[in-house]
Amino acid sequence: IKSEFEKTLGEVEKNFAVFFKRMFMGGEASIEKLYDENGEVKGIELNVRLPGKRKQSLPLLSGGEKTITALAFLFALFKVKPSPFYVLDEVDAALDEDNVVRFCELLNEEAKTSQFIVITHNKETMQSANILYGVTMEEEGISKVVSMKFA
């Protein structure tokens, strides 16, 4: 009989693996349990293997690869414990064009059941939005919000 933690971990791992494979178009991801001397779970670690490459520890990944792995894990947490809305501030900053496209597909999919507020400088991400606002500072030091696209 599984504990609440074990059930949740299984759910998160399943989603993490799916999102990871989708963003990287291949490869594998899993979550490993670490035990203490009493056989109790004391920590978890993410294990990833990028397509064509060997399993790597997280610090050795590139900037973009880390961002994608983190997003796959975060979106897995979102799926298992949904919030009505999420706020993502420039999470696409390290992604190349192809990866931004895949990120937007993931975003569009999850946005069917949750609201997303995303800050971005990226044209592809902007185009995924149903509503687009531009923030400017015409008057020095004062923000002004302008609606640029309305659903």
Binding site: T8, V41, S83, Y86, I119, T120, M137
Partner: protein, 165 residues
Amino acid sequence: MYLEEIELYGFKTFVSNTKVILSKNITAIIGPNGSGKSNMVDAIRWILGETKMTLLRASESSDLIFSGSNIKSPLSVASVKMIFNNEEHTLPIKTPRFIIERRIYRNKESHYYLNGEESSLQSVLSTFNSGGIFGANFAIVGQGRVEEILLARPEEKKAILDKVA
């Protein structure tokens, strides 16, 4: 339940009342460096109950109130409102729409209001919780912070999962 609108007044660089209507799906915010995009994120974090000043990019809570510019003098109060649509009655509130407001004054007094009536932080938080909003947690990913979750030690990663379970 969904978030219909955010209103900001006096919060950081949002000097006059600013209304932002949100999409049920994806709302994107763009603009030049320093224009106020992340300040809006700080406002959302703050109204959800954030207390860590570093996550709000402030050294003390009065830093959240517009501190003046070349042409405008500082303000004495900052207010952030969230207007939720509750027509599906996800939350134990009778009205189809409800407004949560948080205000802060220069003397650092911070107040919460639920549909205009003063409310305590606890009751606001429990209202949020019943709607599935659990403080800022990991639902808000700050600028430059997306990879942070990977840096967490195994014990810290487990702690995150404990919160989800």
